[in-house]
Symmetry: C3
Subunit: 368 residues, 3 copies
């Protein structure tokens, strides 16, 4: 071209002033769960539940095939909302009432929509406010097996585009969303016992005792693989993948480094807890609340612990029980001195994640 | 073995003196597009076109399922030619008349052959010459759906094996290859509008104005993941994956580091342009010419811009139009001073890639 | 919770004192080969055999589809045994009589069990002993196509949990396991020759001469991708993925760095040998013995060579022959001086792997 063309740069994502009370955001794209995405994430997370590893076992339990772990479902559904809700966010503050519905299989296509429930401005931080949303993810829209697979609320701290924009606070009630964990029928004639050796023998409903804290024995170091992992989820937030943006203003970001997408430690903590509490779960019922308490960066090693808070019968399902837990993630950072609680000399334990989590766990009496 | 065996080392790839006028290179291997390869690359590239994300949408538009992006097709087809054409190359100089044909789906098997069109020697660089080839990629050879999926020419600078070898220049005409973009029929009775919310609302044919330059807002930092990405494409070029070879003679290579396979920034630029110009494309028609203008190395962040050069009707398809663009990739490198055009203080903008690209874009009037 | 819960940490894996003579360990989980796992590993390894690349070719040769390479089969089967056998190991000492059976395809589910053959304690290292086991991997247990896919023995050096535990040595004979390489029938009417251009022309049975050492020309640098690769195999050994554990006691580990899972250089060496010896193999018959002779760490570049030890007819298969080889892996480390054998000045060649390997190789007379 001989003359300089008109140059434009489109805005992506919404800013604080863009959210309207009750507004419905129908997220773009949608995402079909490929076998490749399944392999990458199910196994990345160190999850151990055979329902996501062994198709023979999954089918014998009444599923159509390998089942996506709750962590994978969460990653895919949540990432669909990033561009519209949190591409211009400073931090994700809280997960609320995250519930699972229909099982998700390879080949299912996920589409998500979000309702804006609230905006709260801050006198002390005029360029930021808190956005409260409720999102619902469906699979196979328009097909015979269309179903809700997940619903959740979250609160997220979002920047203004124009610092001087006038923004009014508002808050409405969340919708009632019919989303309850789908469970395969228990079949008295099924030979579950012949497959029991594939599951942990010591992580049935009977084994999980309230007022116990289980320190999960494994850890997992996260590398800059997180950029790729976040990308293949179609999560477009730039703080996870654009180092140049961070180099331009490193003091705005922790240590001048890319911040790992919160979904990564979320599913890693779920996975690390697997051998002790998740291996005999038929599904995760609800995450009542959860939050990230410190960021994660490449090179950090993620550890997890689970507090067993309580347990109760699963209505109508004598083969199952519900276990209430608190899943806690942490990492260690170097710090001089020997006096840090729960940490080896020279190290400090840093909590990174917590999640109130209820799980539907098989009873040994019925399965082993 | 008690005695020392005879030791041999086989030559891989062709050198300048091996190419013959009109020679046909039938490339080894072939490659079936697995779901794993699809997941890794479609999403790696930050592409956003729902035809490669959402199987429901792809089928509703008349495709058989998720469609491989032009970038993925290019990566697979091009990589098949590397061993025979460019394993012993210094640089890939130019892409010419790269055209797309049949759509590529997971499960399709690609096989490629190449015709040698020219060799040009250089008086000033007696150990190097330019090889000009024309390659054509077919899918599902011998099956009912056998089809050409891509054809292209390229020029590549290749080393001699024997510096003293006599090589004569030659040049013949390219073949006429019948390779035209396959497009699904527009069905007046299809309910495209019910899916319009899954596509960008502001990137239809009507929205793309000539003489506009769009700076795409996202960037993507590339890590040493590039070694793995290049490997899973069966691209065998050693400058992308053999650090020891580079350590032996670091001054021969940029900064003594592995060079990222050009296909990586190629598809990243395509992907980064997605939200603004690619999201409503039914396909890429032709890349008339393209070249890499600077190498990419791990840690670099890729950005892209698109200049809209012109637009015209798509013959016989009132629902579509053809948009001519120039896709430009760049990165930023640190450099003291504040006077560098188009770059923040302390940085210099380095163009890395350019591609003359024509796209078949949907009209809002017919789809939304 | 208001009171501090009881804290527990479960032991994972067996320690030296846990192994019993003749004990059968039925490994947990099992693993369905997803298309994603296939893509990641088949291609990661730089393998070139078209049977694992090109579904058209694999079917024409009598397979059901893309065939998992022996390296991928080994990685999946071996990793299933890690938690029970070697999660608490110091080193894997030897692979013995590793034989392949039925072919493994995407969608097959692998389950493995292991018999404890021996324990040998050491007077000089009271906290360690050698465990000798025999493992057998089956696919599709309970289905019509249930079959043994691999059987092998290994010796591994395992830690005691309680250094003062009394452990008695024992040794029993291995079981006879019927596991012989499944081969597709040779069909005189099949048009193998029309596909011969997809295979190397110079790596048929006729081409491989005993008393030859082939230095494979390619190398592959391994990055910290190894953490992810090992994780997606469900290999839970902490020395491959828990940097914090290593930071707590770096002198216990080489250079204070994560050690790369031995399966990674194992399959890389197989892959690097592909163009010269593996490309025309219908399968790997047996690995009589193998061992790792030095560890691999991120940044190392893997090279391989093959010594052709002998060749013989394949009983009942005039189209094939068996080639006995020794596969040797090595890397180079910097070391001052110029006198190191087989290495460039300033470098030293370090052997990392050796494997006595027999391959079933096609004859040119029948296939090309």
């Amino acid at each position: 071209m001989t003359t300089s063309p008109r140059s434009i740069r489109k805005k992506t994502g919404n800013f604080l002033e863009d959210f309207r009370s009750g507004q419905i955001l129908r997220h773009k794209g949608g995402k079909t769960i490929t076998d490749g995405l399944f392999a990458t994430f199910s196994d990345f997370s160190m999850s151990t539940n055979p329902l996501g590893k062994n198709a023979r076992v999954a089918r014998a339990h009444g599923f159509d095939g390998l089942v996506c772990s709750p962590g994978l479902v969460m990653l895919v559904c949540f990432s669909q909302t990033v561009e519209d809700v949190s591409e211009n966010a400073r931090a994700n503050l809280e997960y609320i009432d995250m519930r699972f519905g229909a099982p998700v299989y390879v080949g299912d296509t996920i589409e998500v929509e979000t309702k804006v429930l609230g905006v709260r401005t801050s006198a002390s931080k005029p360029n930021l406010g808190i956005v409260h949303v409720q999102s619902t993810a469906r699979k196979n829209v328009g097909a015979a097996d269309e179903a809700i697979v997940m619903t959740w609320q979250r609160k997220v701290q979002v920047y203004k585009d124009d610092v001087d924009a006038e923004v009014e606070s508002f808050q409405i009630e969340p919708d009632e969303v019919a989303c309850e964990l789908w469970l395969p029928e228990y079949r008295a004639d099924a030979d579950y016992k012949s497959m029991a050796h594939l599951f942990r023998p010591d992580a049935y409903f009977e084994d999980l005792e309230p007022d116990t804290r289980i320190e999960h024995s494994r850890g997992r170091t996260v590398t800059d693989e997180h950029i790729h992992l976040t990308g293949i989820l179609d999560n477009t937030s730039q703080v996870h993948c654009n180092q140049h943006m961070i180099d331009l203003d490193p003091s705005q970001y922790l240590g001048g480094e890319l911040i790992i997408f919160g979904g990564i430690p979320f599913v890693l903590c779920l996975g690390l807890s697997g051998p002790d509490v998740g291996d005999n779960a038929l599904g995760d019922v609800v995450y009542r609340t959860g939050r990230h308490t410190a960021p994660l960066q490449k090179g950090d090693t993620v550890f997890a612990a689970t507090e067993i808070l309580g347990k109760r019968d699963y209505p109508g399902r004598p083969d199952l029980g519900i276990v209430s837990t608190r899943l806690l993630g942490h990492k260690f950072v170097r710090e001089d001195g020997a006096g840090h609680e729960d940490a080896p000399p020279g190290w400090k334990k840093v909590p990174i994640f917590e999640l109130e989590r209820e799980i539907a766990v098989k009873r040994r009496s019925h399965y082993a």
